[in-house]
Symmetry: C2
Subunit: 405 residues, 2 copies
């Protein structure tokens, strides 16, 4: 019998989302009629695709049905790269050739790891988006976990003590995953934080992989929307962005990576731009995202679509603020939400993440995500998503007011 | 400086398609006006998306703009899996849970390799679709090539002597890539060929990865459209199919893998279904293809769309037959094309693949693909694609009649 990769046995993190869904499904019809389910769980958008994007999609359908649109470039269509530079990245001096289109940040995380030597030392936040760690595990970067931690992976605590964002460690790491605003803690790295990371990367010759999926929620003056606001970042940082949370593309699938020309790595004895290797990799394994969806992406960067998406984001942020205020007013501790769609709600002692999750679900029919699913240091918290409606937010308020510990 | 994966240095195959494009672009405007360029190069479809699929796409756009369609299942939407079982795979006893939706066979080849132990011995045809070998190289399955061959990869010759299809080797290999009809040789594995491969896999506990991207071109009675026509294949074979060549989706991006429940692998000491591991892998790295494109895929399997795509395929096959007849009438040797969109044209001696390619391009303004780009045993041939129009085929005929050696 053929042998499977042993790395699959090393995945010790439970996949939280299916368990959460299963538990929600188990609620009885009768009880749900009395008190409808409110979903603050998965970070998915609450609205359909908006008008300006619809128009582009209809035109693109007409286009592919009248003109032959075959294989596109494996790194994405030039029209979309141009729109990204014009609207988002030109201001940081990024050029179209440094933009690489993809179908989702999730895919890119796994793929980017393939570019680096297997001995590279990796650091990542704890708690954070579980895909960074799982990708490291499946690509054979780790041995089996000991007491819940992988010996080869450097954990960067995101706790109350660190302001829920990762700080540079003493030791040298070759690849550092950062997520800002951090999922699930809902806190963002400030200009000062990011400057320290760029200095760290310069000192240790590290590469920073910055997941900026939620940048649209950032509005504070001192909180950069891109690491390229920091001088020197283009020599050390890759930045990942998605259309999922900004333009509601979670079902359409579109994202991109910025890999600057000046980010060099050592390929055997030669220095080479990392993006040259990325292009090789993509040429072997990818034909680019769907033409239709890339057309929709370009439309999502039009003035009208950006205005529409800003309205949605403002609404999500307002819902998050209302929820956070109510939670704090009720005597709980709650963090995040300023520059992020996520609230990081401290469980009342002595409840664990899953116990508090169960309490919220069973007693109040509110779906959250147990913090422990994002890493060991997420224990003792649940994550609440503000991708919701005003109506559901209002319903949640009265339920929060009933909570007593 | 961070170290890159050394496997990128091992990629020795030239990427032929960019070189071919570059050479075609270099032709002068003046000469092209006198004799227009005929593209029989890349295997891309020649027509826009057809009517029945257009209707579904327009409905799907309406749908995502009125109803929230967020993250889908990482293995694809049930409605598409059901359509695939109803139309294509139910007749072989395959169930929806054994169908896994993806954005392209190219992506799946690289991803599937991740499931297997790094020590697995791999065999693949020569010549064949270069992505199998390149994926093996980039995932670290090989050392550096010696005299153009990778010592750890077993080459399966597809030459005149083997009828241009791979035959089982004596030695045991754990993973075998098969492509039927084989790209680029244009020849298909018969029922007898496939039965021998299934027997081989059963004897050696191997897994067959069968790329059936071009199955729609198969019409011979003795040539199976699926390996699952062979008894026992469900225990040993994965089959990959694409909507690219059958329904013109090369720009839309949609494919699927069949991984039967009975295909078992050893994960440490336990036997486990391979598809269970695939589900784990996809959950970590993929959110499924775009909802819109999956809707289009389901529509492509409707009776009306299948009739439309059959007309296109019949036309491509007719063009292929006309070209092949003319090439042979002119005194050349030419193979393939019966059950495939590809003709395998033997270069007149003493010309190499690239020399004959250059002759066809410079003198006759016909784009082909040099056979050497598909593996060392492709040297001495060029590949001609019949994804073309009747008009271009007709133009090619008069040019072929001028060829003298």
């Amino acid at each position: 019998m053929s042998k499977a990769s042993p790395h699959f046995l090393k995945l010790h993190q439970e996949l939280i989302f299916p368990v959460v869904e299963e538990k929600a499904r188990a609620l009885s019809e009768n009880s749900l009629q009395a008190k409808p389910l409110l979903n603050f769980g998965v970070g998915d958008v609450a609205f359909p695709i908006r008008g300006a994007i619809k128009k582009a999609l209809l035109e693109a359908v007409e286009d592919v049905c009248t003109t032959r649109r075959g294989y596109g470039p494996s790194t994405g269509h030039p029209f979309l790269k141009k729109a990204i530079v014009d609207v988002e990245y030109g201001k940081y001096g990024i050029k179209a050739q440094e933009v690489f289109i993809s179908d989702g940040i999730m895919s890119d995380i796994t793929s980017l790891l393939e570019l680096f030597h297997k001995d590279s030392k990796i650091a990542l936040p704890n708690p954070t988006y579980p895909v960074y760690l799982d990708s490291c595990v499946l690509s054979g970067r780790t041995s089996f976990p000991k007491k819940g931690l992988y010996p080869e992976i450097t954990q960067l605590p995101c706790t109350l003590e660190t302001g829920f964002v990762p700080k540079p460690p003493r030791k040298k790491c070759d690849i550092v995953f950062l997520c800002t605003p951090n999922n699930p803690t809902g806190c963002s790295l400030t200009k000062d934080d990011l400057s320290k990371w760029v200095a760290y990367a310069k000192k240790h010759n590290s590469v920073l992989i910055v997941d900026a999926a939620y940048e649209a929620f950032i509005h504070g003056k001192d909180t950069p929307k891109s690491i390229y606001e920091i001088p020197g970042a283009k020599d050390v940082a890759i930045e990942l962005r998605s259309f999922s949370k900004t333009s509601g593309f979670s079902g359409l699938r579109l994202s991109y990576s910025i890999i600057p020309d000046s980010l060099m790595v050592k390929l055997d004895k030669e220095e080479t731009p990392l993006n040259k290797i990325w292009k090789q990799r993509q040429a072997v394994t990818f034909n680019g995202p769907s033409y239709l969806i890339q057309k929709a992406g370009a439309a999502a960067l039009s003035r009208k679509a950006l205005e529409e998406s800003k309205q949605d984001i403002d609404l999500y942020r307002k819902c998050g603020q209302i929820l956070k205020d109510a939670i704090i007013a009720q005597g709980f501790e709650c963090f995040g939400g300023e520059n992020s769609p996520y609230l990081w709600w401290k469980c009342p002692e002595p409840l664990t993440s899953w116990e508090f999750f169960d309490y919220l679900l069973q007693k109040h029919h509110m779906i959250s995500i147990p913090g422990s699913g994002f890493g060991s240091l997420g224990e003792g918290y649940v994550r609440l998503s503000s991708f919701t409606t005003e109506e559901d937010t209002k319903k949640a308020l009265s339920r929060i007011k009933e909570m007593k510990f």
